[in-house]
Chain length 135, copies 4
């Protein structure tokens, strides 16, 4: 089941062109990811820690389909999928609520589990792996 996150566009998200700055679409989707992990019982403080087993983002892709304005109501649908034993992807569909509701962006991130010491790949923690598989 995908995870659904709601968010209102804020002024701090926008730039002088009057709309959400392109880099901030990624930040909005990361919020959905954080909330999904939190509701799956993952403790955020230790999950995003700097040392031990870490899961940095290796790749991101975004298609920007529609500008977003301050006050716009958003729905972000996050769908995780396992890639290998040590990596997964997240797909994000970002909708501007309506009526009519319209797709505003599609994003994808790729996450790889590594040891912060050796930078070598490591199997995903069981809690994370089961969250990904349930997605």
């Amino acid at each position: 089941m995908p995870f659904v996150y709601h968010r209102t566009v804020r002024f701090a998200d926008t730039d002088a062109a009057g709309v959400v700055f392109f880099a901030n679409y990624l930040a909005l989707c990361h919020e959905a990811y954080e909330e999904a992990l939190s509701q799956a019982g993952v403790e955020l403080g230790s999950f995003f820690k700097a040392s031990g087993l870490v899961i940095p983002i290796a790749k991101s892709e975004a298609s920007y389909l529609r500008p977003l304005l301050p006050g716009d109501k958003l729905k972000i649908v996050c769908t995780p999928a396992l890639l290998t034993a040590d990596s997964f992807e997240l797909k994000f569909d970002l909708y501007k609520l309506g009526p009519p509701e319209k797709i505003a962006a599609k994003l994808r991130t790729e996450h790889v589990c590594i040891s912060s010491d050796t930078r070598g790949r490591m199997p995903l923690d069981p809690l994370i792996a089961s969250w990904v598989k349930a997605g």
Copy 2:
């Protein structure tokens, strides 16, 4: 009646010291202000426009009382008060939810209504003035 806004701390709010970056406390309080205006019927897109009658922030003050971590649940209480016919202040009390609930910061901003053309002071719009007086 003061306005109450709830927010979870996100990774994008924090810096390498592991806690919310000091400038972002101001951004968090501005979100509360935006939400309060929105619920009072103010259309955000035109309120924060670049031209005509504008209400820029003239001053800010903040006391940082407690560090905030990713995942922390916040409650921000916003209390407006009229200063003159063309200016008002907002006081923000930012709490970290518990138990026990603890005050994490106290902020104050000062807002002055001006003409974007002349930069001269102008009386507040009646809708904004009544929102401030009700606060």
Copy 3:
């Protein structure tokens, strides 16, 4: 000739994992783009305006190869290329200065010229087109 931009990593660029937040790699590259346009004689205020002929970012891709820490010295190499008469791409190679110098990320953005009224595609302004072709 590609354009070269230098930048030091700041605390505001980082998150609680101690390194630059993944979305901020895009913001860093956008700074290089702004500086390149500025040095090519483009007036930034009107270029990134909200109305008339606008050139929003339609796509972005990023490969994150190395974490970046506060104080790290960066070199960003920006290479533009024409895609069609109304669109271009920018490739960014982001290096962490050394010794030894190391590639830290590779990004790509796609830009499409449209009318802000009709949202239909429009030919690039000659000044922008010549900047892209010279890249």
Copy 4:
């Protein structure tokens, strides 16, 4: 001697009103502080660490005197002064370069040295104390 830092306003600094977001004036001044520390021989990675002897910002004040636009060239003058054996202030004068050069904001931050374990006040490290006294 005060420390002088130069910076160009970027799109990521601005919001939908077309000018630098009020919270980002604080971030701009923090960049000047980071650069001043770096040039004084302070290693930023360990200075802004999360544990041990830490120097969080306890207070900030800002007077916003002039809007700042994308592409504006800024000069930030940072003047440190000792308050007590365990605290100091930084005053920032932020100028928009001209001609004519104009003051755009005045900020002040207050920094207190504490133990990250006990949260009790601790004397400033000699390197920091001498940097503050030289300011």
